[in-house]
């Protein structure tokens, strides 16, 4: 499958501040790709460079095999901005007609495409109302409808569910999954890690403008295993032995939590406890969530170079 997004050292500065720095990504088509990071990390900056709102200071990028800014590629892209705003003096239908015209689509498909996106975003029956009468959630749905209007092969969604209730979020997740089933690529910026974990195939985590981790979700969350231990008869010798073996354990009395790099370490930890006279009452492993990974990575402030 064609690579949907390729970036090579993409960099953006805002005067003295780093927006994005040396972003190298290669995203295959037909998947849902999550892009995560704390506030101000550079997520929206990166997306805006890709859709042509910002110009990179350096680096290159290709969308659907074409260099940045190529109009033929833009025709196959949909974009829902984080700060979604549409002309409030237009009706929802007029907004969609406007974007249909701007999308340079086949005029004969206008009616059917608009009807389709209205239906899947739950706006059927509300399209003739002025946008200024729409709630924030409805405006976001309109934005999603507009992004889907051109049946894009590559869809950029920047916080697509921020204004939606739980039911709306579920509907949007289903829309995104449907896009994947159709072989489309979805690039998803989101703060909602649980949502990303539910639907994304791969994620990249950005902090202070740099990618600090990237890969399939299963692989990333499986990289570390958190275990809860309860050890009786702790001695300074036992603690020293554990520290020497690079097991970093956060203790609360006899109970502790440790982050292990692989499952084999569980056996090694148990062996050390027994050898040093400790009594191992409990050793329970817990699958790391994306949130755990995210929090740990941001705290560590690691960097991943091109």
């Amino acid at each position: 499958m064609e690579e949907a997004i390729v970036t090579d050292g993409l960099t953006k500065y805002y005067k003295s501040k780093v927006g994005c720095e040396q972003i190298c990504l290669s995203i295959n088509g037909g998947q849902i790709y999550g892009f995560l990071g704390p506030n101000g990390a550079g997520k929206s900056t990166f997306v805006k460079m890709l859709v042509g709102l910002l110009f990179p200071a350096s680096g290159k990028a290709w969308l659907l095999g074409k260099p940045l800014g190529n109009l033929a590629a833009k025709k196959r892209i949909g974009f829902l901005p984080e700060n979604f705003h549409y002309q409030d003096w237009l009706t929802g239908l007029e907004v969609l007609n406007l974007h249909f015209s701007l999308g340079r689509l086949d005029p004969s498909a206008r009616h059917s495409r608009i009807a389709h996106v209205l239906e899947i975003t739950g706006l059927t029956g509300r399209e003739k109302q002025r946008v200024r009468t729409y709630s924030k959630g409805m405006q976001q749905r309109l934005g999603l409808a507009s992004a889907l209007l051109t049946d894009p092969d590559l869809l950029f969604l920047d916080e697509p569910t921020s204004a939606l209730d739980p039911l709306g979020r579920k509907e949007v997740r289903e829309i995104i999954l449907e896009q994947k089933r159709k072989g489309k690529t979805v690039f998803l910026n989101s703060h909602l890690l649980s949502e990303v974990e539910m639907i994304c195939d791969r994620v990249a985590i950005i902090n202070k403008g740099r990618i600090i981790e990237e890969g399939p979700i299963d692989y990333l969350t499986g990289k570390t295993v958190e275990v809860e231990v309860e050890i009786g008869g702790r001695t300074p010798n036992l603690d020293a032995a554990l520290e020497e073996a690079c097991f970093s354990i956060a203790w609360a009395g006899e109970k502790g939590k440790a982050l292990l790099s692989d499952k084999e370490d569980r056996a090694r930890l148990a062996e050390i406890v027994i050898k040093n006279g400790g009594r191992l009452y409990e050793l329970v492993g817990r699958q790391n969530s994306l949130e755990d990974l995210f929090v740990n990575l941001i705290r560590e402030e690691g960097e991943k170079d091109c």
Binding site: L53, L54, F55, N83, H85, L98, R104, F156
Partner: protein, 281 residues
């Protein structure tokens, strides 16, 4: 480009901008017509030869006042309707989704200019035509050269539109409106200074006026319009109709018109170039 132009046109109509302008213009023209009626009533009653000259002077002064304030109204409409050509779209966030579409930024800004320009030209044409009709109906005074004057009267808001569009790429909407208005004010004051300069034969004052016209040619266009509409045929040297701050003692040259055309093109070109590479965070 046409899609954006139609959108801009529609915005002007839907937001009642043009409707409000037309309504207030009708109010102004009504008031003006009333004033013109009562003023000319007294003058037209006296049919002596000397009063014939007085009549022409007074009526032409009243006409130039009407054109002056009409020019002012059209200019203000041009400034404040187009001060946010690009900046209001950025500030309102409506530009994000549009520029992500497969349209060139140049087409976007030219479409905005086309939409605004059409509205302004329509309004300006309506205004001058209505004014001329009122003058003729009330006083029987027929202005000269209505068609070239109409063309220049429609060009006036386009000068301001081009500068406002350029400014809107650089400045926020409010700041841009103030800046463009101040530039226009410089041109107006400069024009008045130049008029007095010609009356008292002051080279320095004339130079000030010329420089202000180069900074903003809108007032020079106005002087040209007045000169066309109110100039005597038959080569009379006593052109009292051109006197006063609303008149045009020195007719702006054809070179000034050519300069104005290049001025507009340069402003639009610069606006398009700057917008083409503008970051929209």
């Amino acid at each position: 480009m046409l899609t954006i132009a139609i959108l801009t046109w529609r915005e002007g109509l839907r937001r009642k901008l043009l409707a409000a302008a037309v309504l207030l213009t009708i109010l102004f023209l009504g008031l003006y017509g009333l004033g013109l009626y009562y003023a000319s009533k007294e003058i037209l009653a006296d049919t002596s030869p000397m009063s014939q000259l007085q009549r022409e002077i007074v009526i032409s002064q009243l006409v130039s006042v009407g054109i002056y304030f009409g020019s002012f109204i059209v200019s203000l409409l041009a400034i404040f309707s187009s001060a946010g050509t690009v900046s209001s779209e950025i500030e309102g966030g409506t530009v994000y989704a549009m520029l992500a579409r497969p349209i060139k930024r140049v087409d976007f800004i030219l479409g905005k200019l086309l939409g605004h320009g059409c509205l302004l030209v329509l309004f300006a044409a309506f205004f001058l035509s209505a004014l001329s009709a009122i003058v003729y109906c009330i006083t029987g005074f027929m202005v000269n050269g209505i068609y070239p004057a109409l063309g220049l009267f429609c060009l006036q808001p386009l000068v301001l539109l081009s500068v406002a569009a350029l400014g809107s790429v650089i400045f926020p909407t409010l700041a841009n409106g103030i800046i463009v208005f101040m530039i226009y004010a410089i041109a107006v004051v400069g024009g008045i200074v130049e008029q007095f300069g010609w009356i008292i034969n002051s080279a320095a004052m004339i130079r000030i006026g010329i420089i202000s016209s180069l900074i903003m040619p809108a007032d020079a266009l106005y002087r040209k319009i007045v000169h066309i509409l109110l100039s005597f045929s038959g080569g009379s040297s006593l052109n009292f109709t051109q006197m006063g701050p609303f008149g045009s003692i020195s007719e702006p040259s054809t070179q000034m018109l050519v300069y104005t055309a290049f001025y507009i093109i340069a402003a639009v070109f610069l606006a398009a170039c700057l917008f083409r590479r503008k970051d929209i965070p």
